[in-house]
């Protein structure tokens, strides 16, 4: 376990380009109700031929922000048939991979999740999927830029043993990917060794 002081405080902002400015504002501000909280109007400058741009931010709660760049006069080269405006892929790339990168926004309750579902379902971007995972329930849609967006609630608090288990998983995986057999079977075998090795650490840690 890391002994480093852990002083960061969540996501300040995460930033994406958009080429559908009106759609992006409609989706995040008008449909989801995320307030616009900051923007920068900047002339292009610097050694690279940088276009003039607008950098603008939506409040996604908890003082965290979702930001976009809109570049004047710049259109990305069109390639691929899958993915979003930032990352395009050919048709032979499987969907599990294309959809792996996504943004998940937290809500506190089932009522809140239902309300965001209602807002999306009354828009051009209805919920595509609602699913209960292991310990969370999520709704998903794609925003006007093709970015995969999830809104999620916890079905229950995360337990201390799940944090313990997560550390064992990551340590076992770090070991396994260095070896000759990189597989789920090898991971579960290495994890069983760590379960036994660290069992003695568990009970005192819970007192």
């Amino acid at each position: 376990m890391s002994q480093l002081a852990h002083t960061v405080r969540g996501v300040d902002h995460v930033a994406f380009p958009t080429f559908d400015l009106a759609g992006t504002v409609a989706f995040y501000r008008d449909v989801l109700g995320f307030p616009v909280v900051h923007s920068i109007c900047a002339a292009g400058w610097g050694p690279e031929k940088h276009p003039d741009f607008i950098h603008f931010f939506f409040d996604i709660g908890n003082n965290d922000r979702l930001a976009f760049f809109y570049y004047f006069g710049y259109e990305p080269p069109q390639r691929g048939v899958k993915g979003d405006v930032y990352a395009r892929f050919d048709d032979d790339i499987p969907d599990f991979f294309v959809k792996s990168r996504h943004l998940a926004i937290h809500v506190d309750s089932e009522a809140d999740l239902t309300e965001y579902r209602r807002r999306l379902d009354h828009s051009q971007w209805p919920v595509e999927l609602q699913v209960q995972h292991e310990t969370i329930e999520s709704i998903y849609t794609h925003d006007p830029n093709g970015y995969f967006v999830e809104i999620t609630r916890a079905l229950r608090p995360v337990t201390p043993q799940e944090d313990h288990d997560a550390n064992l998983t990551v340590d076992a995986l770090v070991d396994v990917v260095k070896g000759p057999d990189v597989s789920m079977a090898a991971l579960l075998t290495r994890k069983a060794e760590l379960i036994v090795e660290r069992a003695a650490d568990w009970e005192p840690a819970q007192r």
Binding site: Q132, E134, D165, L188, T189, A199, A200
Partner: protein, 81 residues
């Protein structure tokens, strides 16, 4: 010997209970994990557990000299390697 571990969380409890119904199976605790062991292969019927798929397919935490030979919507079968 067939042996596997499952983390002690509420979602996994029904799986451990179903496994424990087999008279060949013994269950004890190692740290925050259930250790499920038998001299025979261990077979767990998913429908008997009532588990959602997401829980079912992430329930195994460790394997000791054992391998999973079936892990689908019907059952999980673990055998000695």
């Amino acid at each position: 010997m067939t042996q596997l571990y499952m983390l002690d969380i509420p979602e996994n409890t029904p799986i451990v209970d179903v496994a424990d119904q087999d008279p060949h199976v013994t269950v004890d605790k190692v740290g925050p994990y259930f250790r499920i062991a038998a001299d025979t292969p261990i077979v767990i019927d998913r429908r008997a557990t009532g588990c959602r798929h997401a829980v079912w397919y992430s329930s195994v935490a460790g394997l000791v000299q054992s391998r999973i030979t079936q892990w689908d919507k019907d059952a999980m079968r673990i055998e000695p390697t």
